[in-house]
């Protein structure tokens, strides 16, 4: 017997959009006092994050890398701290996992560096790192949203994009077919001119008037199978942070356009009941009772999870099996009404 629950007051409007800096509305982000940020972070998270910030100030000047470490609404860029003012207000920095994941990403990037793989894989590492931080920092763009570029991605974009240009020649009419490989224009392997490093960095322009440059991450993204909108986002970010590249990445735009036309949309794999029960059982094992119910409800009620989430979550029990100091602060008493099991 079907039960219809109308106008559930507990299911509120979706809040999928993370508070982000809107580059279109406000091209110049206001300055944030780092001291104020540190005080704020200490208030919210205690001395741990404050210590983290202090350590970053010590470590970063001695490093050869421009570390970018994100922690929720705030970012440590080099030795300076900047915070998106909107995130500062709306994103309460209550997700310690953001910090943990950021540190993990940082460590993985250092491994790249120490393994002497960065010179060869610098683009890969930078892209991965940029994407990681982009996701945490608000670059995760929903389908119907406009492009939102977080200002703290600027050093990334700057560093990444300066070494990834190379001049290209325009497509001939015979090669401009609709296939993705040939539509790469000046970036197809057989027609590629020799890379000229730091075309932008040399004279801070794109060379002679009318010269076109390709954008290597777009080529790479096509190869590795980026999600469809990623190329357009990367190009818009490039033009925002490097205005001199406007009107000079025509072929990259053409590639992105063709890519969007031929690339199939990526859809999530549907859960089978067996997998769902496995997930629910694992959640039960981790004492994530509420999450287990959400899994069941999402599966049986055909609901998307964004409908349940709020913009400011409260702390919940840490689910990770290995206890450690940083996770202990995550623990709160799990006040479940019926004890361990609700059934």
């Amino acid at each position: 017997m079907a039960t219809v629950v109308d106008n559930l007051r507990y299911i509120s409007c979706s809040t999928t959009s993370v508070p982000c800096y809107d580059a279109d509305r406000n091209p110049t982000p206001p300055e944030i006092d780092p001291q104020r940020v540190e005080e704020y972070v200490k208030d919210v998270h205690g001395e741990f994050i404050g210590l983290l910030i202090a350590m970053s100030h010590i470590v970063l000047p001695f490093s050869h890398l421009s570390f970018v470490m994100g922690f929720g609404g705030g970012f440590i860029v080099g030795s300076s701290v900047t915070v998106d003012p909107q995130q500062y207000e709306k994103f309460p920095l209550d997700s310690m996992d953001v910090v943990h994941d950021a540190i993990d990403s940082l460590i993985s990037f250092m491994r790249y560096k120490f393994a002497r793989m960065v010179s060869g894989n610098q683009k890969t590492a930078s892209l991965e790192l940029r994407m990681e931080f982009g996701r945490f920092g608000g670059m995760h763009v929903q389908r119907n949203d406009r492009l939102i570029v977080h200002p703290d991605d600027e050093p990334f974009v700057d560093r990444l994009f300066r070494s990834d240009f190379r001049p290209t020649s325009p497509l001939t009419s015979s090669s401009s077919s609709s296939s993705s490989s040939s539509a790469s224009g000046g970036v197809s392997p057989g027609r590629l001119p020799q890379p000229v490093p730091n075309v932008v960095a040399q004279d801070d322009s794109c060379g002679p008037s009318g010269e076109q440059i390709s954008f290597a991450p777009i080529d790479r993204g096509l190869d590795v199978g980026w999600p469809k909108p990623e190329a357009s986002y990367a190009l818009v970010a490039l033009q925002f942070f490097q205005p001199q590249t406007k009107h000079h990445v025509v072929w990259a735009w053409k590639l992105a356009k063709t890519w969007n036309q031929v690339e199939l949309p990526t859809r999530s794999t549907p859960f089978s009941p067996e997998i769902l029960l496995g997930m629910a059982g694992q959640a039960l094992k981790w004492k994530q009772f509420r999450f287990r119910c959400l899994l069941v409800l999402g599966f049986a009620g055909n609901s998307a999870h964004q409908s349940w989430c709020s913009s400011s979550g409260r702390r919940w029990p840490c689910h990770r099996p290995t206890p450690c100091k940083r996770q202990c602060s995550y623990w709160t008493a799990a006040k479940e009404p019926n004890g361990i099991c609700f059934l």
Binding site: V4, T266, R267, M279, W308, C309
Partner: protein, 141 residues
Amino acid sequence: MLPINKIVLDEKLALQALRFLCQGLKPGETLSQVTNLQFRTLFKDLLAALHLEQLGYMPYSLRRGGVAAAYKQGTSLTSLDVLVIQGRWQHLPTACIYVDAGLQSMAQITHPPRALALCAQMATHFKTASQKGTRGMRNMS
């Protein structure tokens, strides 16, 4: 995403889950009590624990899988109509496309044996603490 103002549940387990989630909530609060990021983080960790992280599962897989599983339960036109109501589609053809794509994906996916074994183990763990009556448990029995 538009807010959901109606949800149809015909599973006993799902109703119990909803009642559990609604306990102690104040008006205006959301069911999950977590942010989107927190939800995705835990979801990702669960997938990693079951060795399912490379198979394209995302939170939206819940809706897709639920629809596909419900459709597999009964393929008559009547049940499809019910499915359209449950899934909050406006038109039947849209729901058909959605269901077909989901069934195709389910048929094509291949799970590693280790992941299947873990899922089976966790499913047993779940069933020992749960009542019967879920859609999935009917299929599994």
